[in-house]
């Protein structure tokens, strides 16, 4: 049977202390222990991108990390990014363009796209496609997603240098 480990971390700005099974993945920890179900387990082998979240500022796959590794870490999930308003423009662009259907991949897609947005500038469609190439969407055909990310990048770039 697995051992347990105590971890202290920040999740969406709030301090969290929990004792976790050494074998529990980060995605299971968020979903089962904290009720943050916006991060979704799609393949559990790091390919589909549905569990993408921000860890210490970088995007990672929550299914490839153990919760026990996260002592002292700073985790931001779709719930936190939504509540803070940081990606409100991106979410609005996704909504306008219908850049989602079933919505299962959407949180991971948004967290990934948010990392591209933070780089600044307006990437080409090809660059956007490349950047999102680790996030699987079965419904949309990707076109509207690329449109939405492009639109959000452009709007932010225009805001940054009017």
């Amino acid at each position: 049977m697995s051992e347990s480990v105590e971890i202290r971390l920040t999740v969406n700005g709030a301090a969290v202390t929990r004792r976790v099974d050494a074998r529990q993945s980060l995605v299971d920890f968020l979903r089962e222990e904290l009720g943050l179900t916006g991060t979704r387990a799609g393949c559990e082998h790091g390919v589909c991108g549905a569990c993408t979240l921000r860890l210490d500022g970088a995007i990672v796959r929550a299914c490839l990390l153990f919760a026990a590794q996260l002592d002292g870490a700073r985790v931001e999930t779709i719930e936190g990014l939504s509540d803070s308003g940081e990606i409100a423009d991106l979410q609005a662009a996704f909504h306008r363009r219908n850049a989602l259907q079933c919505g299962f991949c959407t949180a991971g897609m948004l967290v990934t796209a948010a990392a591209l947005l933070r780089r600044g500038g307006v990437p080409s469609r090809e660059e956007i496609r490349d950047f999102l190439s680790g996030n699987y969407c079965r419904c949309t055909g990707y076109c509207a997603i690329i449109d939405a990310v492009e639109e959000a990048c452009r709007a932010r770039a225009e805001k940054a240098s009017p």
């Binding site: 979704r40 996704f94 363009r97 949180a107």
Partner: protein, 792 residues
């Protein structure tokens, strides 16, 4: 006064035809959707399955004692433990004459017939504990020779996978229309090809999921499903478990992709129901990705030998096809696994004028996972075979492939039309669609560019694919064959006291935008703002009875029910408002939530005032007037068995003849889905469908070895289309409204998947043409292309 009143579609505030974003997408964008795995119930148990590691093996003994003793394990079951709790099911439809299949059980009783078939289940306090216990189940297997390939299963003397059935032929059908032999005899050219379509699978982002909550106190079972058809699921469970109709409720919250995968009966899900009934506790099962690959239904697996006869002048004289398809060891319940092949032979060639058509279909049992209906059932096969033949014929008579299509498509003024296989087309627009396509893609310009680039050693290809698409199926599709699958749908509208409208409808939402489309129709017909319409779907206790969402029926059938319900509620509201205002209801209208004078548009009272009077102030109403602020209407297709749509796709791609890699440069679609309610959603349905078709054409294949073992059953090994490889997809529309309904909408969910593989195949072969090479085996991998080029 002589002017016609404006139709619901033309009223200034109509939402019909407008690109309205989906209100229900907001929660998904914030990660606040509710999928089955997001539900939290007290005393929840988690199920995990032990699956057969062999494609074919006898289960000599199973010892579950050690597993049952593990901490956190509540119950371990095998087939023997479930006996008497359910009745087995058989996936046949009576109108598919001569079709046979064998009884299927939640857990394989004595023999496992595919790698992945569930043979034991554990219910435990956590999923991890359940999975740990699986490792402690000891099974003594006796391996049996597997029949993995269709050819092996059909070979003379091959053992029957189910002895009682005698052989492995599940279903066969032939069509022989017109004078096929004569046509081949008098042809100037005959070309033949064998087209192969690999097995692939749905890879829903959310794996199959079910949570069964049984309350033994009142014997009520609630199923939370990731499903497209809650009412069908309820009927199925009632047929096979001892429950009263009133005691079963099926609820579908958000569904993370389905595409036909989540409309079938799966043995593991039936086991979860049995466990919940046994244990009196809620039990959840969410397939993990690895077991999804060997337990979700697979799609396609066809080999089609085909030939076409053509005259020098470019007349297609006859088409002759022979489809051999493998469906695994059981026909899937309740839709069967024969419908896919049946649609191939029904559809092939049907958009061309030739009356001479012959087809043979053989549907074969084998030791692989069950194959059944997946998005665009049969269409991509029929389309690739037909359109592949047309391109071959064009090459044989040295005619431009667009020109050959133009000369043979059913003329736009020739409807109604009956195809040689008996399909009835009410009104289609093939010629206009092709004309539009050639303009949109600048066909002649692309041909020039292609020629110029060829001279520089750049090999690009252009591929066209015309198609028809089956939508809005009537009761002749499943109901007539004995399946508890409703072809009708119902919509119930209630005016609330505050003037908003609650709409309960039996078609369901998996992200296509069903709820938005229905709200648009209701808001437009009733005369209220979209935000005032709240749509409820996916709950057998809260919606009228109906089929759900599959075969592109949501808008065409559900939308018409919604339109008629809104008309009925509108009449009821105006009756009450007329009494309140002492005005003739016919002189009143509803606009933006207000009762107005129809003539002047002057606002009289708000809908909330009507609602309040109806519910709270009956004392102010004339004697004898009973307000009826709920209206329900149903709709089912009656005039035609299906509402066909039509379209054309085109692919422009570049082939690296050194590596065999294909780069998709651009994809175009022209589609006629009748009246469009929401072009934004229609476009995305088409694009998503195209990409599923592109996956089948270029990447997706369940690779099996001779022992029936899946060799690429992970998402790292099984390739799906990702953003980087996909082209921009341009979509244009024609609108030929469907007769027989006021809404005039047809479906659009299959079209993209139907035509994309054919367009890509033809484009690849167009690029390969200078090398005298061609491919016909999907997916068109670099290795297959290099083999065709003779480079490997």
């Amino acid at each position: 006064m002589s002017e016609q009143p404006l139709s619901f579609f033309d009223r200034p505030n109509s939402y019909i035809g407008k690109s309205v974003p989906r209100p229900n997408a907001q929660r998904l964008l914030q990660g606040r959707g509710v999928f089955v795995d997001d539900l939290r119930l007290p005393r929840l148990l988690h199920a995990a399955f032990l699956r057969s590691p062999y494609a074919h093996a006898r289960i000599k003994r199973i010892d579950t004692a050690a597993a049952a003793r593990r901490a956190g394990v509540v119950r371990v079951v095998t087939a023997a433990d479930l006996a008497g709790l359910y009745t087995p099911w058989v996936g046949v439809l009576t109108h598919l004459k001569g079709m046979k299949s064998a009884p299927q059980h939640p857990l394989a009783p004595d023999r496992a017939r595919w790698q992945g078939e569930p043979v034991a289940a554990v219910a435990a306090e956590t999923r991890a504990a359940a999975e740990d216990a699986l490792a402690e189940i000891a099974v003594e297997w006796e391996e049996l020779p597997p029949l993995a390939s269709v050819e092996a299963a059909l070979a003379p003397g091959a053992p029957a996978i189910h002895e009682a059935l005698g052989d492995n032929l599940a279903f066969t059908r032939t069509i022989d229309a017109g004078a096929v032999d004569d046509a081949f005899d008098r042809a100037d050219a005959v070309v033949a090809e064998t087209f192969t379509f690999a097995r692939h699978t749905g890879v829903c982002p959310e794996p199959r999921s079910i949570l069964a909550e049984f309350n033994p106190a009142d014997r009520r079972l609630t199923l939370y499903c990731s499903s497209q058809a809650p009412h069908m699921m309820k009927e199925i469970v009632l047929r096979h478990f001892p429950l009263a109709e009133a005691d079963l409720r099926v609820v579908c919250h958000d569904v993370g992709g389905s595409y036909g995968i989540k409309i079938h009966v799966y043995p593991d899900e039936m086991t979860v129901i049995a466990l919940a009934l046994m244990l009196g506790r809620p039990v959840k099962f969410v397939a993990d990705r690895l077991e999804s690959f060997v337990s979700d239904i697979h799609a396609r697996e066809h080999r089609v030998a085909a030939r076409v006869a053509v005259s020098k002048s470019g007349e297609i004289l006859a088409i002759d096809i022979d489809d051999l398809t493998g469906i695994g060891p059981f026909s899937t319940y309740p839709r069967t696994s024969a419908v896919e092949g049946n649609q191939v032979v029904n559809l092939a060639g049907s958009w061309y004028r030739s009356p001479n058509y012959r087809a043979r279909l053989r549907v074969v049992f084998q030791n692989k996972p069950p194959m059944s209906q997946y998005r665009a059932v049969g269409h991509p096969v029929a389309c690739a075979v037909t359109e592949g033949l047309v391109d071959l014929a064009a090459r044989a008579i040295a005619m431009d492939p667009a020109e050959l299509r133009w000369r043979n498509l059913i003329a736009d003024d020739a409807y109604p039309w009956k195809s040689p296989a008996g399909l009835l087309f009410e009104k289609l627009s093939h010629q206009r669609a092709l004309e539009r396509m050639l303009g949109m893609m600048d066909y002649t310009g692309l041909r020039r560019e292609q020629k110029a680039l060829r001279a520089q050693g750049v090999h690009r290809g252009i591929g066209l694919a015309c198609f028809v698409e089956i939508t809005n199926p009537g009761p002749a599709f499943y109901g007539v064959g004995g399946a508890p699958i409703s072809a009708q749908d119902g919509c119930s509208l209630r005016l609330e006291p505050g003037g908003t409208v609650t709409c309960a409808i039996s078609v369901t939402e998996q992200g296509q935008g069903t709820e938005t489309v229905v709200a648009q129709i209701v808001a437009s017909v009733l005369g209220v703002a979209l935000a005032r319409v709240r749509v409820v779907t996916g709950d057998t206790e809260r919606t009228p009875y109906g089929g759900g969402t599959w075969a592109s029926r949501g808008t065409g059938i559900g939308g018409e029910a919604a339109l008629q319900a809104a008309k009925a509620l509108r009449a009821n509201v105006l009756t009450l408002a007329g009494a309140m205002l002492q005005a003739a209801p016919g002189g009143l209208d509803i606009v933006e939530g207000w009762i107005v004078d129809a003539g002047t548009g002057a606002r009289r009272i708000g809908l909330e005032e009507v609602g309040r009077a109806g519910y709270f102030r009956g004392d102010t109403l004339p004697p004898g007037l009973q307000p009826e602020l709920v209206a329900t209407r149903h709709h089912q297709p009656r005039d035609y068995p299906f509402a066909f749509t039509n379209g054309v796709q085109a692919s422009w791609l570049e082939l690296d003849v050194e590596t065999g890699f294909v780069r998709l440069l651009k994809h175009w679609v022209v589609e006629d889905c009748g009246r469009m309610v929401n072009p934004l959603l229609v476009d995305e349905q088409i694009r998503g469908g195209v990409v599923q078709g592109l996956g089948a054409a270029l990447f997706e294949e369940c690779l099996y070895d001779a022992a029936g073992q899946l060799r690429n059953g992970t998402l790292a090994d099984y390739l799906v289309p990702m953003a980087a490889e996909m082209p921009d997809i341009e979509v244009a529309h024609l609108e030929t409204p469907l007769a027989g309904t006021e809404l005039g909408a047809k479906g659009v969910g299959e079209a993209g998947t139907a035509g994309a593989p054919a367009a890509v195949m033809n484009a690849i072969n167009d690029a390969l043409a200078p090398f005298g090479a061609r491919v016909a085996e999907q997916p068109f991998t670099p290795a297959r292309i290099l083999r065709a080029l003779g480079r490997v």
